[in-house]
C-alpha cells in the first residue's frame, strides 16, 4: 500500500451532522437521509488550490438512484444526486446553519403564524424558463396533495395557505407557530420545480434551478450530471460528474486503486483503508444513531423498571467496540450538534449490573426475563453484530434477548406496524430536534405507533418546542425532552457511526458534509 493519507476529523468537531428521517438503510435498500441542498457563498475555508475549470470526475456508488423525481426520493444515492440539481427555499451551510436558498431573506411574523420569503432574482430553470413565486406555490401545493404521495407532505402539514402577493414574494400561513420549518424546508423532498412540469415530465428528465442537470442515466450502470449553464450561482468547475455503479465497496476500492474512480463514500473503515494510491480519507460522524428500540406498549416492556434494567445492563462503549470496531461515538437521543444530548445524562451512565438487578426485582422479574428483538438482515452493516453484543451483555443481567433475524422486507413491515417487543435499529437523525423526534414521540406523530411511547409531558414539551422562538429557551426544552426519554428508558440509545469519504488527491474543493450530503460537488474540480 503506498501513501495512504488519513485525516481523522475529531468526531466532536462542531461541524454539523447528517440529517435523516426514519431508519437509515444502507446499501441497496432505500435510505431516508435528508441532506441539504444549497451552496453557500462561503464554502469552508480550506487552503487548497483553486480548481481548474473543466474536466470530469467519477464517483463510485453501489446502487444507482432509484428515482430522479425529488418529491418521492428517499434513497441516499437519489438525494446525493438530486440536491445538486434542484434548489429549495432555504438551505444549510457546512455547519448546518439555515442560510438563503431560492429565498434571499425571510421574515417571521410576531405571532409566528406567517413567514414571508423574498425570492432571489434572476433565477432560471435549466430549460431556460424563469423562476417566480408561482413555481413555489405550485410545488408546495402539489406536495401537500395526498394524491401525489410526496414524502415530505407532513413538513407542510401545518401550512394552511400559500400567498403570492407578487412574483418575488411568497407567504406561508401556518396553523400554529413552527420554528423548525425553516430547517425542514431544506430537504430536496421540498424541491421547487417549474409550474410547467409534472411528475411525469420530471421522471425522465430533470428541470431544476441547481448547479447541475441530468445528462444521462443508464439503469444499473451510471448517472451523469453536467454543468447547468443557467445556474444562478457560480458555474461549477467540473463539466460532468459521473455516478458510476459498482457492485460493492470492495469493487469501488479496487476501481479507486486503479484510478478509475476519484471519489466514494465507504461505510466500512477497513475497506476505505484498502484503497491504494494518492487518496485522502475523511471520517465524518453521522446524525443517524443505533438504538435498541423498546416498545413500551408491548408485553413486559410496559414496565418502566424492566426498561431501566435493560438500559443499566448495557455497556454502550463495549457494544460499539465489538460490533463497529469502536468506529463511532456513544450518544444520547439528540445527535444534532446544536442540541446534542449529554450521553451520560441518564439513570445508568455506566453499565451497572447491581442497579439492573434492582430494577428487575422491582418489576417482579428477579428470576430473569425473556425479550424478543427484531434484527434486520441485509439492511445496514453491523445490525446482527450489534444485536449479538447487546444480547451477550443482557444475558449477564439475567435478561435473555431472543434475536429474530429478519429479511429486510419483513423487518420493515414489522417495524412500521410497531409489531415488536424490542428492535435493533439504525434510525436517521435531522438537524432540528423537532424534525428528528416530532414524528415519533408526540401522541399525534405519524410514527408514534413505532416509537411505542407517549405521555402528556412529552406532548407538552414538543408543542412548546415548536413555538419557542428564543434559541436558548428552545435548547432547554429539548434538553428536557432528552431527559424525559432517558429517565423513562423509552429506548436505549447506543451510538452514532461514521462514514468515510475517500477522495483522490487529483481533485480539490470538495467538503464532505456531516449530513452525508454531496452539495459541495458544485465547488469540486480537478487540480
Amino acid at each position: 500500500m503506498t501513501q495512504l493519507k488519513q485525516r481523522l476529523n475529531a468526531p466532536l468537531k462542531a461541524i454539523a451532522l447528517a440529517s435523516s428521517a426514519g431508519l437509515v438503510l444502507a446499501g441497496c435498500a432505500s435510505a431516508t437521509e435528508e441532506p441539504t441542498t444549497e451552496p453557500t457563498e462561503t464554502t469552508s475555508a480550506t487552503a487548497e488550490p483553486e480548481p481548474t475549470s473543466g474536466g470530469s470526475m467519477v464517483v463510485g456508488i453501489t446502487v444507482d438512484p432509484d428515482t430522479i423525481f425529488p418529491w418521492k426520493a428517499t434513497q441516499f444515492q437519489a438525494f446525493r444526486m438530486l440536491e445538486n440539481v434542484y434548489d429549495t427555499l432555504t438551505a444549510f451551510d457546512a455547519d448546518l446553519n439555515v442560510v438563503p436558498g431560492l429565498a434571499e431573506s425571510w421574515e417571521v411574523s410576531d405571532d409566528g403564524l406567517a413567514i414571508t420569503f423574498d425570492l432571489r432574482d434572476g433565477v432560471k430553470f435549466s430549460d431556460g424558463s424563469d423562476f417566480d413565486s408561482a413555481d413555489v406555490k405550485y410545488s408546495y401545493e402539489a406536495i401537500q396533495d395526498e394524491a401525489n404521495a410526496a414524502v415530505a407532505r407532513s413538513t407542510l402539514g401545518g401550512v394552511t395557505s400559500i400567498d403570492t402577493p407578487d412574483s418575488d414574494t411568497v407567504v406561508l400561513n401556518l396553523a400554529t407557530a413552527d420554528v423548525g420549518i425553516l430547517a425542514n424546508l431544506t430537504s430536496v423532498n421540498l424541491a421547487i420545480v417549474s409550474s410547467d412540469d409534472t411528475e411525469e415530465t420530471l421522471s425522465t428528465a430533470t428541470n431544476g434551478t441547481g448547479p447541475f442537470v441530468l445528462e444521462s442515466r443508464t439503469a444499473g450502470q451510471n448517472v451523469v450530471l453536467a454543468r447547468n449553464p443557467n445556474y444562478w450561482g457560480d458555474a461549477t468547475p467540473l463539466d460532468t460528474v459521473e455516478f458510476r455503479v459498482l457492485p460493492d465497496e470492495a469493487a469501488i476500492a479496487a476501481a479507486m486503486s486503479a484510478g478509475n474512480v476519484q471519489m466514494a463514500v465507504f461505510s466500512d473503515p477497513i475497506t476505505a483503508r484498502t484503497v491504494t494510491g494518492d487518496v485522502t480519507v475523511n471520517t465524518t460522524p453521522q446524525l443517524s444513531y443505533h438504538a435498541l428500540m423498546l416498545n413500551a406498549r408491548n408485553g413486559s416492556m410496559t414496565d418502566k423498571n424492566v426498561r431501566l434494567a435493560i438500559q443499566c445492563a448495557i455497556d454502550r462503549q463495549a457494544v460499539l467496540d465489538t460490533a463497529l470496531l469502536g468506529e463511532g461515538a456513544v450518544t444520547g437521543p439528540i445527535t444534532s450538534p446544536a442540541f446534542r444530548s449529554d450521553p451520560n445524562a441518564r439513570p445508568c451512565p455506566e453499565r451497572d449490573l447491581a442497579a439492573a438487578a434492582e430494577y428487575l426485582a422491582a418489576s417482579g422479574n428477579a428470576g430473569g426475563l425473556e425479550i424478543d428483538a427484531i434484527v434486520a438482515q441485509n439492511l445496514y452493516a453491523g445490525a446482527v453484530e450489534i444485536a449479538q453484543a447487546v444480547a451477550a451483555q443482557l444475558a449477564e443481567a439475567n435478561i435473555t434477548l431472543n434475536l429474530e433475524v429478519l429479511e429486510s422486507g419483513t423487518y420493515i413491515d414489522r417495524w412500521i406496524a410497531g409489531d415488536f417487543e424490542s428492535a435493533i435499529a439504525l434510525n436517521g437523525g435531522r438537524p432540528d430536534p423537532d424534525g428528528m423526534y416530532g414524528r415519533y414521540f408526540p401522541s399525534t406523530g405519524n410514527l408514534n405507533q413505532v416509537s411505542g411511547y407517549s405521555s402528556e409531558t412529552m406532548d407538552a414539551l414538543f408543542a412548546a418546542g415548536k413555538s419557542e422562538g428564543d434559541p436558548t429557551a428552545r435548547k432547554q426544552i429539548y434538553a428536557d425532552v432528552s431527559a424525559e426519554l432517558e429517565d423513562n428508558a423509552v429506548w436505549v440509545w447506543l451510538f452514532s457511526g461514521y462514514t468515510y469519504t475517500a477522495t483522490s488527491d487529483s481533485i480539490t474543493g470538495f467538503t464532505p458534509m456531516t449530513t452525508g450530503s454531496w452539495q459541495y460537488l458544485r465547488t469540486t474540480g480537478l487540480k
Binding site: 438503510l25 435498500a29 432505500s30 432509484d66 414524502v151 407532505r153 479496487a254 420493515i412
Partner: protein, 322 residues
C-alpha cells in the same frame, strides 16, 4: 427432414410452450410470496409516515392495485403484444432493459464456451490418449479443479490480484459495449469469461475423454488402424469428428446454464448482464422486471435445449432411427 423428425419437432415445440406457461405461473406467484412490496422496498421505514390516500396513490403508481390473477393475465396478454412491462425505477420498458442486457450475457457465454472448448477438448483428448497414465491424471485433475473451485472464489481472487498487483481493472471503467469501445469491451470480458470458461471446461474435458475412449474401442477405428491409417489422421479425422456429437450436446447444455448461471460473475465484475438484472430486480422488488426477465431466460434456455436436441437428432443417425 423425415416425417418422424418433423412430428417430433412439433411435439417438442408444443411441450416447450406448455413448459413456458408453467414457468410463467410459477415465477409470477413465487415472486408475490416475497415479503414486503415495492412501496416498502423503495421507501423503507419511511413508508410508516404515509397517509392512507398516499399509500393508495403509490399502489396505483406501481401498478400493484389489481387482484393477483388480473395482474397475471394482463401480464401474459401484454407479453404476447411484445410488452414485457415497465420498470418504474429505471423509467424504461423492461423490453429495452432486456434488449440491452441480453447481448452482454450472450457475449460472455460465447467467450466462455470458446475458452472452455480451447481448454477442454485438447486436454480431454490428451487424457484419452493415455488412459491412467500421468497425462491422464493431469487432465483429470484439471477437470476436477474446474468442477470444484467456486466461480466466485476464482473471480474474487483474479479481480483482486489483477487490480492490485497489475493495476488492471477494466471493469471499473463502467461497461462499454463491443461497438462503443471494442478494446475496453474485450478487456472487460477477459477475466469473467476465463472464470466461467474454466468451470465449463471440466464437463467438456470429461465428455471429450469419455467420447474419445468409447469411439476408439469401436470397430471402424480398429479397422482403420489395421488398414494402417496414420494415428494422427485417425485421431482427427475419425475420432474427433465422431466425438463431436456429445461435445456439441454438452456445449449447448452449458450455454443454456450460462444465461442464468453467470449471475455471480456478472455481479463481481459489474457486467450489466441478464443475471444481474434479475438479482437487482429481486433486491429492489421490481416484480415486473424480474418476472419478465426470468421468463426470457427460461425461454432462451428451453429454445437452446430444443435446438441442441434437434441438432443432436439430426447428426446422430442412431437417435434418428429410434
Amino acid at each position: 427432414m423425415t416425417a418422424i423428425l418433423r412430428s417430433s419437432v412439433i411435439r417438442k415445440t408444443a411441450g416447450a410452450l406448455a413448459t413456458l406457461f408453467g414457468v410463467a405461473v410459477f415465477v409470477f406467484f413465487m415472486l408475490r410470496a416475497i415479503p414486503g412490496d415495492q412501496i416498502s422496498a423503495s421507501l423503507g421505514t419511511e413508508a410508516a409516515g404515509l397517509t392512507e390516500a398516499q399509500r393508495q396513490a403509490l399502489v396505483e403508481y406501481y401498478g400493484i392495485d389489481e387482484p393477483l390473477t388480473t395482474q397475471f393475465f394482463s401480464w401474459l396478454a401484454n407479453l404476447f403484444a411484445g410488452d414485457l412491462g415497465f420498470s418504474v425505477r429505471a423509467q424504461q420498458p423492461v423490453l429495452d432493459l432486456t434488449v440491452a442486457a441480453l447481448p452482454v450475457t450472450f457475449q460472455l457465454a460465447v467467450f466462455a464456451i470458446l475458452l472452455a472448448l480451447i481448454i477442454g477438448v485438447p486436454i480431454g483428448m490428451l487424457s484419452a490418449s493415455a488412459p491412467r497414465k500421468a497425462r491422464d491424471f493431469v487432465g483429470q485433475a484439471v477437470s476436477l479443479l474446474g468442477l470444484s473451485i467456486p466461480a466466485f472464489l476464482l473471480a474474487t481472487t483474479l479481480l483482486t490480484f489483477f487490480a492490485v498487483n497489475l493495476g488492471f481493472n477494466p471493469n471499473g471503467l463502467g461497461y462499454k459495449t463491443l461497438f462503443e469501445d471494442p478494446s475496453v469491451n474485450l478487456q472487460q470480458m477477459f477475466l469473467p469469461s476465463l472464470v466461467l470458461g474454466f468451470g465449463i471446461s471440466a464437463p467438456i474435458i470429461r465428455t471429450t475423454r469419455a467420447a474419445v475412449l468409447e469411439i476408439r474401442g469401436q470397430d471402424f477405428i480398429r479397422t482403420a488402424r489395421a488398414k494402417g491409417v496414420k494415428t494422427q489422421r485417425i485421431q482427427f479425422r475419425h475420432i474427433l469428428r465422431n466425438a463431436l456429437i456429445p461435445i456439441v450436446t454438452m456445449t449447448g447444455l452449458q450455454f443454456g446454464y450460462l444465461l442464468g448461471g453467470a449471475v455471480v460473475v456478472e455481479q463481481i465484475f459489474s457486467l450489466p448482464g441478464i443475471g444481474r438484472q434479475v438479482l437487482l430486480g429481486i433486491q429492489q422488488k421490481e416484480y415486473a422486471l424480474v418476472q419478465s426477465t426470468v421468463l426470457v431466460i427460461a425461454a432462451s434456455f428451453v429454445v437452446i435445449n430444443l435446438l441442441t436436441d434437434l441438432l443432436y437428432r439430426a447428426i446422430d443417425p442412431r437417435v434418428r432411427a429410434e
